[in-house]
Symmetry: C2
């Protein structure tokens, strides 16, 4: 179990959060600008590394993949030096032309920075089904490369946002045998958030030295245990991607499969960054007023635990009840029962925070106390199946009128 | 194919819609009253038949089954004479006591009507997790049996409603070799509507004579092709049930497996009643302002077609876009792509009504015309996968602020 060792490791190896985001990692510079895709807000970002990076990524499992996803999936295993990201347009469902546009953007970045096109990754997010305004982006790249020559700016966290209200950035520093390691990540949400990625982009960079195959394995597991345990509306997007790049500049001994401690430290540091970003995404979910943590305990296997947790987390009825501070625990049991997993309802325990509301049968509770609890910003719901020993924890947000408002007029 | 023969049969065998609901079928009397479970509205209904009925039913597939569902599943194959239904309380998640309460209600009806308990079915709908107010129901049964002795009343359609705004009733009459057959159905929605039943109750009665095993088979298929093709919010309830009873009074020759024409006529008449009730449920979905018909065409198999159609129909992003009259077809393709079914997005055609919006790539369209189309009360969305020859059609409603309002304060 990683998590127990995580805390053990954290006692031994202190880490701290630092400021500066992407730019805090030696060798990386980033910048964000407005290129005219949106009226005023930044809409185009560039990350560059002064040396070639090793990459790992997880992409949307949606059959319908946006052009930049198809493109970046192709080049993820090449040495990477630059990442260009635009918001306001997903370049999805745009056929052949969409893919050509992505290549045009990538090769223009490559040309400006003296790279091969394959050294450049491309990501887009925003409205689906409209062609990319390539001209605007190309002029934007001119501006961005100039800014980067001057040391970059702090606007990339803004440039990647769509309906998000809040910038999402986490940077940490820790040491491995005296070598200073940094990991910095940025992300965007905030609707179309569901497991197997969402309309979600996250970019995480580091200077750690680690074997490529091990990196890929640990990265995938960390995504599984962070970004893939959140949901806002159960919709999976065409553009979701989590990217990790390291320029290997930290000069630590390359971490190998056999380096048990170092491996665990890195995994848990990475997980820390990812979980924090994932949580920020849910907190900033479209229209969200509350964070809801759904914990399913004592299931007969991990898959069942996750299935039930997600069924509850995606239930519009559960989410609206929490929004209204209504302790309608029956909807939780009903949602759990519809997950297609067998369990005995007469053994189940349901808790809101520490308040037991159901214990094989309804438990009398104080509506006033529950209302007080449900008026909080963070709600913990526990469903104990009393069956096996596996558990799962999924983060979601409440469902509000604001979500409807945002999404009923998204394109206009 | 039933449906083609259906229309053929309908030309040969005319049918008509009639008034009177349950009470229009010879031998059945129903009544509804307020028993104090709700403030003013009717909340308790009773259907009785003067002779024993043959029954068929489909119950929720939710692991968490309400007490009356557990009870009625046990007795559905017995000869049935009475059905008692309450709203305002689902008697779900109420453990042993819930089941005892159901037996108390059933046996009180039986005692009043001189029946065995097993001749009485019980259904409940409403809030989950509260004990049934048995005393009120028992006094209500006294009132109901008195009213039924006097010929019943027309209030059962009201008594079974929860958040529904509209009563749902369909009655038809047709002839089989000179014998007059009637089928009458009532139903309630209106949230927690998803395939495999929903918080949905439907009661259909008839006087047709038909072999029991054949009845069960045709009934199940008809449910599959009507009530199981609708969704409001993707939530499956603990109480969903569709019940069919016939008192076999029509004196037609008992329909057997080998009676091809009679079988088809009955199936299609039953399907007509069920589809009409199912459509009424969606139209009256919680907060719904529009009916959305999702048609997936040319899938490689029926299951895939249904899977994709339901994924689109349950997408909050699609439903809010239709609510806002926003022709955001990209969300439809994105939802389709996340159904876990393989297809080639470059071949897909997406239409809103007759307007093609995507044909392997975006098609230019008049926003004004699309807005006009989407302002209608009934929206047809077609996704042609160009892959095989199977199709599915699912009905759903839009997602509005009103849904949030209704469900955030349901218990209060």
């Amino acid at each position: 179990m990683f998590l127990k060792l995580f805390y053990k490791a954290l006692h031994k190896i202190p880490f701290k959060e630092i400021k500066g985001g992407i730019n805090s990692v030696p060798g990386f510079i980033s910048a964000g600008i407005n290129s005219g895709l949106r009226k005023v807000k930044p809409d185009l970002g560039l990350i560059i590394s002064d040396t070639k990076c090793v990459g790992a990524a997880v992409f949307t499992k949606n059959i319908v993949k946006a052009a930049p996803v198809i493109y970046s999936m192709k080049y993820i295993n090449k040495p990477i030096s630059a990442v260009i990201i635009n918001s306001a347009n997903a370049n999805a469902c745009t056929g052949e032309k969409g893919l050509e546009d992505t290549y045009t953007v990538a090769s223009y970045v490559a040309q400006k920075l003296n790279l091969k096109t394959s050294n450049v990754l491309v990501f887009s997010t925003g409205v689906i089904g409209e062609y990319l305004p390539v001209k605007k982006i190309v002029s934007g790249i001119d501006k961005l490369t100039d800014i980067i020559k001057d040391g970059g700016n702090n606007n990339i966290t803004k440039a990647i946002l769509t309906t998000d209200k809040v910038e999402k950035e986490v940077s940490i520093e820790f040491k491995l045998k005296g070598k200073k390691i940094r990991i910095a990540g940025i992300a965007k949400g905030s609707g179309m958030i569901a497991p197997n990625m969402a309309t979600m982009l996250a970019f995480i960079v580091s200077n750690i030295v680690i074997e490529k195959s091990l990196l890929k394995k640990l990265f995938k597991t960390a995504v599984e245990n962070s970004f893939n345990l959140i949901t806002v509306d159960g919709d999976m997007s065409t553009n979701d991607s989590v990217l990790f790049l390291t320029n290997s500049k930290a000069e630590n001994n390359p971490i190998k499969e056999s380096d048990k401690l170092e491996k665990e430290i890195f995994y848990n540091m990475l997980l820390y960054v990812m979980k924090k970003l994932a949580r920020m995404i849910v907190e900033d979910g479209e229209g969200a007023t509350k964070l809801i943590k759904i914990k399913v305990e004592n299931a007969s296997d991990k898959k069942s635990a996750r299935k039930i947790a997600f069924k509850i987390a995606n239930s519009s009825l559960v989410k609206t009840a929490v929004y209204g501070s209504d302790a309608n625990w029956g909807r939780i049991l009903a949602a759990a029962g519809s997950a297609g997993v067998k369990f005995n309802p007469d053994k189940v325990i349901i808790k809101f925070g520490n308040h037991i509301l159901y214990n094989g049968e309804p438990v009398k509770f104080s509506e006033k106390k529950l209302k007080q609890y449900l008026d909080k910003k963070e709600i913990n719901i526990t469903v104990d199946l009393k069956k096996g020993k596996y558990s799962a924890e999924v983060l979601t947000s409440d469902l509000t009128e604001e979500y409807i408002k945002i999404n009923s007029k998204y394109r206009t």
